[in-house]
Subunit: 356 residues, 3 copies
């Protein structure tokens, strides 16, 4: 096996997603190494993933296949080496864990089931697999003996929202099929929150973006560190609100405040989010975990049926409406995802990011 | 008539309810005095009133019937004497009063009908009779010539909520029948607020607990002294929210704030309740009554039909929903009241209280 | 042509409405000049406009027709002279204007269509013509290429609400017909806001009164100068809330806060309105226009479909309800406008004003 063949097979052993920029670089070097400079015709505008890949390959210009092969090996080697030194993710798997997911830590202790996003190097961005895993974890938490269910993030971020790379895996059916599948996934994900039968608590340990913010309207308690921020840049990406936020946010804070977030991309501090009623209480970063968990442990000793039934009572008056809103939001987003406007906005986003 | 017979008959002349602890003591001494030490079998867990009575009797151990008789006479004598010295309640009946209720002062002056809870020694806790009396007073206020209707409390408390001793009067049909009757009473009570046709003002002169807090969501104005607090310890007692608060509280303050009150027993200060929109305005204790009443007297001079019709307009958009929420809450509570979880929580409450 | 004939014809050339008091004085002097002292029978109570005119004429007592003629000429002359010196309104018509309305400036620039009330000498009070013109301007803005639509006022006031002189033009069909026509106008006006398909921004440059305040609940963003105030004195005028405020205000701020505004005429400062969620943000007067417009220009560069569709999504969950609320409010107001209570309240208002 040549060094190049070895690099190719070592690539598949990577535990962490290296991110879009790196993956595009690897793709381009592989094409250049095996086929030489890019001479294929430029893909059409709507075929945006192939366009991005074509751009990456084209950007290598006329470097030789040998040189490309060497750069490919070096890049893969550095990624594998970097992971060898980091066993943080494995060590983080605690003894009491009951279910294992790739990038989710689910534990039950002191009557509390905790679902922790565990993809800190990617700011806990939610991949397609994670959406499904969170739904499974919520279904499990609904049935176990715990009294409270807590949602939080590993590392410095709470969650950076939808992983935009989800949009780059275009299936054979094209963008329309991808949009439909993403819509089904989203509808299912949000329904898991709407139907969750026990008190649901968000422990917002850092910045929250997109669907990690909008879903907060479906939580019963939201505790945030002072370092947390809340940002929903939908229109900037040519998209529209989800997770029932088009209904819950105006209900919580009034349309005049909700529009600044949902239409005009305003990023809130934790204190601002608390004043608007999106957050229950803000804590100093130094005592955040200690104060929040001691409080939650006390809450978890209260009569469980009384808590669950009271929570269900509060949500029952609007459950039908929440499902209808979820459907309407998903329908709108599926339309957005296949629109030129959205395509151009996401392209601009990736281009701006790759310039950094 | 012996001293014991006299004590027995004087007992029925007491104007004020001496409270559960004292009544249990009287019961136990009477049993011990007439039947000797408790030898009957321990009642079943669900028969919780008889269990409490049995415990009280059993706790007297083997003291003699003579000694029990003497203690019985002393206790009743002290209660009767205490009342002889206190004519506060009678004196509080003002000249302008139009209707007389046992523990309610209803007056009309300056176009304002005031319903004042008048059971200050019991922190204005609401007995079964008071629920019915308040409904009658509201029906009367709806029909009289007044422009505003004000609800307030005598003494230092606004209202400590439902008198838990209501739960100790188990009818022959058992706990199920008691729960059903209590549910009917509650539904009727809350409906009287939902359907009230004129502006309804709460003058919260001190701490408010339970249904005295939850019903505030059905008031049009809520003025509070800085000394007032707002506490709804439902889950602590194995119960669930009532008076439409499962709908009105999330609407007023958002679910993230409402859950802390309705699920997790958080007690709010007047300032906190004002920031969340449950209270219209907070006043310093020293000027509370003066400022509030001068304002209300000015309001009561406004065109009455305009006020009543505007209030009805505001409520009309949600009246059907409020009735549906009331029904759902009552149904849930009736189920709660017959549950072991609720039984145990209330027992713990009484036991903790009797230890003080 | 005599001086009196000249005055009569110059009167019709006035560009600005001189206000009710002045118009009544002109009417009275004309009657006295042409018919002598008032000897006709006093009009009935419900015929309130004729009653006001009769009072004005009667108040001239027995002054001679000559003297009345002279005073009439002097008064008209002073009004015409006053306007000759003021060409502000004409100069304010900017180059980029696309539509011309009598008292409305509608311009489109930087993807923003701005509808500016332009009747500063009357505090931008809305006349019957202006209601229709605003509806037309909104329909036009909905169809043009702009991304945002902004509503604001010329001069120091945002808008003083409904011009009460609208109520003094009683048609032949009497008060009932006037009320019905005013109701149709109002329903139509509010529907134009409910159905508006793009983000709608209020730039509140000064005090706002009545319908200028209540309609804010139908805007997506509300920016206010610190000098702005918010006042809805409905019950004081024997009327009731409109523009869906009976639904939007309780939703935004809770009933306990909304009632103080909608029932009890409380005037809010900009900061108070912002804390309650009626206003998005308050700016210092010195930098208000600069800060608000630079922000709006940035917003207007966002993807337009994403903005419009997101706005529609937010409103879609309550659009049917808003239409139903509008209908119910209009029905109630039509009833109010023909009531004695309302008649007396408005008469008191005019009398208090004319005493100043």
């Amino acid at each position: 096996m040549t060094q190049f063949e070895q690099a190719k097979s070592r690539l598949s052993t990577l535990k962490n997603d290296p991110g879009n920029e790196v993956k595009l670089k690897i793709y381009a070097l592989f094409k250049q190494a095996t086929q030489g400079p890019c001479n294929t015709p430029k893909p059409g505008m709507l075929d945006f993933v192939n366009k991005v890949k074509w751009d990456a390959w084209k950007s290598l210009g006329s470097i030789s296949q040998d040189k490309a092969r060497q750069q490919y090996c070096d890049l893969v080697g550095s990624l594998v080496a970097a992971e060898g030194g980091s066993s943080a993710q494995v060590a983080a798997q605690p003894a009491g864990s009951e279910a294992t997911y790739e990038t989710l830590l689910v534990t039950t202790e002191d009557n509390i089931t905790t679902i922790k996003l565990n993809r800190p190097t990617k700011k806990n961005a939610i991949t397609t697999e994670m959406y499904n895993d969170i739904v499974a974890a919520l279904e499990q938490a609904a049935k176990d003996d715990s009294v409270l269910t807590v949602f939080t993030g590993a590392g410095d971020f709470y969650c950076s929202g939808n992983d935009l790379s989800n949009f780059t895996k275009i299936p054979e059916g094209g963008v329309e099929l991808m949009a439909k599948q993403a819509g089904d996934l989203l509808r299912n994900y949000v329904n898991a929150y709407i139907d969750f039968p026990k008190p649901l608590v968000a422990v917002v340990n850092g910045p929250a973006v997109g669907i990690a913010v909008t879903a907060l309207g479906l939580f019963d308690l939201v505790y945030a560190t002072e370092k947390a921020t809340f940002h929903t840049p939908f229109s900037q990406l040519g998209q529209s609100p989800e997770a029932c936020s088009s209904y819950t946010f105006p209900k919580i804070m009034g349309v005049a405040k909700a529009s600044e977030m949902l239409l005009f991309n305003k990023k809130l501090t934790a204190t601002q989010a608390c004043e608007l009623g999106l957050v229950t209480e803000v804590f100093p970063e130094s005592s955040f975990q200690m104060e929040v968990w001691s409080r939650l442990k006390a809450y978890a000793k209260l009569p469980p049926n009384s808590l669950a039934l009271s929570k269900q009572l509060i949500r029952s008056t609007e459950k039908d409406r929440l499902h209808a809103v979820n459907d309407a939001e998903v329908e709108r987003l599926v339309e957005r995802w296949t629109s030129d406007e959205c395509f151009n906005a996401i392209m601009s986003f990736f281009q701006a990011k790759s310039k950094l």
